[in-house]
Symmetry: C2
Subunit: 473 residues, 2 copies
């Protein structure tokens, strides 16, 4: 065992036996060095390992803190075990109704799926598009057809490699946002009637895709801190045939949970034993608040069973619809599905993103974006804590821009959704995150928009919750 | 009956009884006015009607000519009646193999699906993209989500209205090329196991979509001049349940056939009697060589049963992937399918096309494009006639950029495809245009690329055909 591993194991033990408690600050690198006489880089490596494992987290300009992974809060938010049988899914209608309402102009965007558009380098992208299109040789248009622009695929692969994730450029297929890749992945690995394991709660687009492809959903208990319950998944895999898992191990939508790296590894190993493909939705991974990008499950994929999907939509270029899938052994099938249905991601969008990346500055933009989102989430959480009644519980994600809020007993989220819309506020009621509308007392709040939009809306929403609790339906 | 209708009926009778023969020149408007003493505008209206009916065609700077609709050539090219049973489709593998080969660089693009990229106003589009993106308010990104940019939908609807086709802006959904709309349409109106009526031969993407959605294909005899055999279709509709028709009434791919307007009307009425939706692929309609855009079947759709798909990919902006579907009563379903799978066409592409259209100049570009394609097709037909052996028959489309060539007996098109690839020439063998590879003696030639690429390749291809006929496989 290396020295940093020894030190990490020591801290892990202190956390496990309760001597270091959730929220407690760890010694700074300098303090630890002075106390223990080991090098700063060893301590830093140990802290990075612990962060990847989900045991500690960083607060910039402040230090390292023990995570609240198993705090009372986490337990309170944990959901009751979903039913053991797979369900047919009929959620689309409700999802569309809710999304349409939230999209109307003049509605405060707490129900939106995207962060504030003010956070993105749109003028730089516009210039990159102009440059890219001006330089585009007419004959090269064909190069952008699926699997996509070769230089852009290289850029994407290189970014993974720099983060310690070995991806093959060959397995990357560029498509129209992550959503196209996710849908193609699901179609590539299932037949109508098959069962797909999902998190509970889950991203509604997974439910829509399952419904559209006439599949069944099996919900697996998912913790608001550490993600899907691997033991419960393992039991389900032993009990019945599962054609695929569709999961979001990093900053899950809507919970914000982050599977520690060790659990991601365990997940990949478990699925490999059962030869079950994992569709990994990783679109929020770049929006971490800690010191390092959490590595995806794909990092541990030796069998080519992980279909890893991501995009630039949430972190660089909303609306450009440039996403990708690293599809392992399914890459050719995915490329063909894309060729048959949309043929390619749009050339102007591909060349704009490519030239933006090649000119540099993406990492600088990402640092600013993360800092802004962390500040916005922190302010939103404070606003919820002050404006919502006692008995409200909420997640505290370490990345992304969603907070999952469990309302006090007695208030149905659809009722709140209707009342909020009347008051000009969009929210995402918990109903749309489960095939059987199990999360009727929860809402997802998007806190990635400017404080001037979000904070007054949260104040008003809190007042609405108070009022609705006083007047039963 | 109005005067122009009387005059048109007179000419129709002359054509029917053989007094005006295929290829014969009609009196010019001036001549007819002098002879008959009726106004130039009446004669012009009559000629337009006859052209829409597919009886005559215009050659710019030359005059009006009787079509070869029922000439020996047309009969020779007519296919044997397809089997009466619907088939499961397994064509994708071969299509991908053929397309991959044709896409390789350095291969003469006679097998390509797109016209030469030199024909498109790419610099103007790049400027329009830059302007559009510069003016884009960050908050307006959401406006481009499916059903798409409202101003672009208006522009599209207006163009139809100017051509005498009443489309509702509300029924238009913008997507990633026509292909996404076509695929969404097929999914919206079928269930796995259903039967879809198609032309024979048909566009391979229809076969791929049918295969992907686990449907069956019923091929209907299709004439190289006048399109699908409506009587055969009517008999099939009476005999069995057909869930949908997927057709290309205007400049069909691969035949180039153009259904006369009266037959389009008849088609829509027939399908309405049976309450069967028509998926109309209209992507080549703007590439007419006559004086007017042939109106689509959608023009006669009073029941909202026509799902009309088109795009800018073949006539303005290849690679931008901006298409649309006017989906009648299925518009909401299509919008939702798009939202679930790709969410939107890319914003840079939508705003580029929008600003290009708003700035004007599209019609001027189209006139130049049509003239160029007509010249290229004419030169290619001459080259085929001179280079290919006797017994070769070919279509003479009045729009688009494909020529369908039936090889002399004894030569299999896959064999020619392999030999041509060795010689650096891509072609599309007839096999990929039918579920049972019925067109084994035909090839589709793309003549929309520059003459310097196309003509030498055709010479070489003709020599190969001669050689292969001398050396049986």
């Amino acid at each position: 065992m290396k020295l940093y591993e020894q030190y990490a194991a020591e801290i892990t033990a202190l956390i496990s036996n309760g001597q270091l408690r959730p929220g407690e600050r760890l010694p700074s690198v300098r303090e630890a060095r002075a106390r223990r006489g080991i090098s700063a880089s060893t301590i830093f490596q140990a802290y990075q390992r612990l962060e990847r494992e989900g045991l500690i987290h960083t607060r910039p300009q402040s230090g390292f803190y023990v995570c609240a992974a198993r705090s009372a809060l986490g337990d309170e938010l944990a959901v009751t075990a979903p039913r053991a049988e797979a369900n047919e899914v009929e959620v689309s209608e409700l999802v569309f109704e809710v999304l349409r309402a939230a999209r109307s102009s003049g509605i405060a965007p707490l129900g939106s799926a995207f962060p504030g558009p003010d956070l993105f380098p749109l003028p730089q992208l516009a210039r990159a598009a102009a440059t890219g299109l001006r330089r585009l040789a007419p004959n090269s248009i064909v190069e952008n057809i699926s699997p996509g622009n070769p230089r852009l695929r290289d850029q994407i692969a290189t970014r993974y490699r720099l983060d310690g994730v070995r991806l093959q450029t060959d397995e990357i297929v560029i498509g129209n946002g992550a959503l196209e890749g996710l849908n193609a992945a699901l179609q590539a690995v299932t037949q109508p009637g098959d069962t797909v394991a999902i998190e509970s709660p889950t991203f509604y687009a997974a439910l829509q895709a399952i419904e559209r492809l006439k599949l069944k959903a099996l919900e697996i208990r998912t913790d608001a801190e550490t993600g899907i319950d691997i033991q419960a998944l393992g039991e389900a895999l032993s009990r019945q045939r599962i054609a695929a898992c569709w999961l979001m191990p990093t900053f899950q939508n809507p919970l914000g949970s982050l599977m520690p790296e060790a659990r991601k590894r365990e997940l990949v190993q478990l699925l490999r034993q059962h030869e079950v493909p994992l569709i990994e939705d990783d679109v929020y991974a770049e929006l971490y608040f800690g010191s390092q990008r959490p590595r995806p499950a794909k990092a541990f994929d030796e069998a080519g069973l992980v279909l890893h999907c991501s995009s630039f939509s949430k972190c660089l270029a909303p609306g450009y619809r440039v996403g990708w899938i690293a599809a392992g052994r399914y890459a050719q099938r995915i490329q063909r599905l894309t060729l048959m249905t949309t043929m390619a991601a749009s050339v102007p969008a591909q060349v704009a993103v490519l030239h933006y990346l090649e000119e540099g500055g993406y990492d600088r933009h990402l640092r600013r974006l993360r800092a802004a989102l962390m500040a916005r989430m922190s302010a939103a959480i404070q606003a919820i804590e002050s404006a919502f009644p006692a008995g409200t519980r909420l997640s505290r994600p370490r990345g992304g821009y969603f907070v999952w809020v469990a309302l006090p007993p007695g208030l149905d989220a659809m009722r709140l959704h209707q009342a909020a819309l009347q008051a000009g506020i969009g929210i995402a009621p918990g109903h749309i995150f489960s095939p059987d509308h199990r999360f009727a007392d929860c809402i997802r709040i998007n806190c990635g928009h400017p404080a001037a939009d979000v904070l007054p809306a949260l104040q008003q929403l809190g007042a609405l919750v108070h009022a609705l609790l006083r007047t039963p339906a």
